[in-house]
Amino acid sequence: MTLSYAPAPESTGIVDLKAHYGLFIDGEFVEPIDGTSFTTTNPATEEVLAEISEAGPQDVARAVKAAHTAFRSWSKMPGRERAKYLYRIARLIQERSRELAVLETLDNGKPIRESRDVDIPLVAAHFFYHAGWADKLEHAGFGPNPRPYGVAAQIIPWNFPLLMLAWKIAPALATGNTVILKPAETTPLTALAFADICQQADLPPGVVNILTGDGSTGQLLVENPEVDKVAFTGSTEVGKAIQRAVAGTGKGLTLELGGKAANIVFDDAPIDEAVEGIINGIFFNQGQVCCAGSRLLVQESVAEMVVDSLKRRLDTLRLGDPLDKNTDIGAVNSAIHAARIQEYIKTGEDEGAQRWTASCPIPERGWWVAPTVFTDVSQTHRIAREEIFGPVLSVLTFRTPDEAVAKANNSPYGLSAGIWSEKGSRTLWMAQRLRAGVIWANTFNRFDPTSPFGGFKESGFGREGGRHGLGAYLRSEVV
């Protein structure tokens, strides 16, 4: 007997898409000075969603000027008043959450279930949490008189467009900075909707500026001498280029870069829960997650059982229309990215690993990659070392906890890790030895505004969220 599901699509009627979007500078939507634009596309249908403005040098200069002017009053405003603006924003996000979820899914390709139940609720929670810090900064452990940097340039990726915006803007505003945020080229729509929310909140002009564009817009922002702080989430390669660009300028810098997380399963782990956790670790958001559990390290004695169970479960996942409420796996974000993932899958086969791909049907239009698992992977394989940023899991085995630690830490990255075991003492022993910024024990890919997030080594520096995350937007006084 085969079970089938009737389509259950979320309505797009709640979204009022414009044909064209300007830049958000000094509280107003304005046209770019040189009039350049590009389009953003629905990755599940390949249909153009809207025309987006490309910010050029003069637009960047305008936005920086607006942010500078706004900083004078915003940084002097009592924290309790800044807090109220952030609370307003949090409430507006809650009120418009369904619209934002649909917009996110249209632009990004992620399942509506994720944008509705994970991304957007976390966005609202993030603003709500940071609102409460705005008038309590002197109690945050950064000295008696914590000071903001000034103008923060914030560059974010396409995998969690509005959530990454919240992670950047909420702490920056709470601490009294003003911002210029550049969303990713392929996912600008929710950031532009956020600009509308700033208007509805009557946020003072220039406190938040949204500049859409590609990497060249980002580079202009990073190199602008009037920018005091740069915050970047994205690839390690671009992160290194940004670190070089700000060298010697005295600008503040935080980087949240790539990862190649080990998800470590011990023989005493609750296997069914672990399998769900492995799937959530690498197939959540189509694997397009910097902290994805892309290396499964499974203890040899249970490896066969875990992998068989994993494959059985993966064959039941539903890939397809991201707007369908029953969809588990959505579209990957762009044609270029889909090709890059397929290239890695080919590399894995060429290097001698065994490929297994879930048997789900692939829609005719759009960009898709079916869940893929590689076994017989060795530590030297590229699929075990490099960040694929897609639904591709590399399975390696280990015998002892020491070997698991050595293999997990054998990476230039150090963003996250997972540990699956019923033995608390072993979990804590492992957690003490893993060189990673976030460690999930018997869970994976959990996020919360109170919980600091960020990496070791080439996964970047600085934290986002929690008390620690405030440090990214306060000048550190070092004697």
Binding site: K240, A431, G466
Partner: protein, 287 residues
């Protein structure tokens, strides 16, 4: 009447608990504050820097794995040893920095007290920089500071002892190990400090001290993949500083720049914080 000829000290490097000469065989003349020849110091080479990084890397897991109580006692022991040899340090600091005996004694006092101050931090860092985080779900979530790893530091050129101690102590108290380039014009108190470190139960390789030219050795350290963080406190040349910051990007090193350099001020937690990472652990709760 016979006049006794004093026995002078050969100043060498301090790597992995031993005192080797530079493998390059090079030295450079060190003058006192009045411009008179004092001694030849080793001029560390790129290879000396590499050896020092290797030593620091090997020592790091053991030092970080020691209990905070144990690390605190070792730092306190350094203060004890320094106190016992204070006359020698007063003399060297006075000669290096051209201070009166009284001012030099005050510098040595402050240097000893700084070790004591940081010694007390070892088992309090996690309580002050860590957190329990009230996440919205059935998880116990906590954040702890852990050492960044191997830190390469350029010590301040002017303050030959107090500045040096103020750079080293906050790096090692949390469990980092380090390679420190001593003051180029005033390197001798650093090597004498190494003699203190070598007799203070500090494991070999936790602190490695090089004498030489920061502009020569610094960029190698900044580009070394096994160095996790840089402390550029003593880099007074903007060009060298930028060059080192650019090299640091190749392995995304943490970089401390532009500290105030007021060694008499309350040190605060800024330096400890600069060389720690925050690990956050989520653990499920349930029955």
């Amino acid at each position: 009447m016979d006049t006794r000829v004093d026995v002078r000290k050969t100043y060498k490097l301090f790597i992995n608990g031993a005192f080797p000469r530079s493998e390059s065989g090079r030295t450079y003349p060190v003058e006192d504050a009045k411009g008179r020849f004092w001694a030849n110091a080793s001029l560390a080479s790129r290879k000396d820097a590499r050896d020092a990084v290797t030593a620091a890397r090997s020592a790091q897991p053991g030092w970080a794995g020691a209990t905070a109580y144990n690390r605190g006692q070792v730092l306190y022991r350094i203060a004890e040893m320094l106190e016992g040899r204070r006359v020698q340090f007063e003399d060297e600091v006075a000669r290096s920095e051209g201070l009166s005996a009284r001012r030099a004694a005050a510098v040595v006092d402050a240097s000893i007290d700084r070790w004591v101050w940081y010694a007390g931090w070892s088992d309090k860092i996690a309580q002050v920089l860590g957190a329990s985080n009230p996440v919205a779900g059935p998880y116990f979530n906590f954040s702890v500071p852990v050492p960044t790893g191997v830190v390469a530091a350029i010590a301040p050129p002017d303050s030959s002892l107090l500045g040096l101690v103020s750079v080293i102590a906050p790096i090692i108290v949390s469990g980092n190990t380090c390679v420190v380039v001593a003051s180029h014009p005033r390197p001798l108190p650093a090597i004498t400090l190494a003699e203190v470190l070598a007799t203070s139960d500090l494991p070999a390789g936790v602190v490695n001290l090089l004498t030489g030219d920061p502009a020569e050795v610094g960029p190698w350290l900044a580009g070394h993949d096994d160095v996790n963080a840089l402390d550029l406190t003593g880099v007074d040349d903007d060009g060298v500083s930028t060059q080192m910051q650019v090299a640091a990007a190749d392995s995304v090193k943490r970089v401390l720049t532009s500290p105030s350099g007021d060694w008499t001020a309350d040190p605060g937690l800024g330096r400890i914080r600069a060389f720690t990472e925050i690990t956050t652990v989520w653990h499920t709760q349930g029955v």
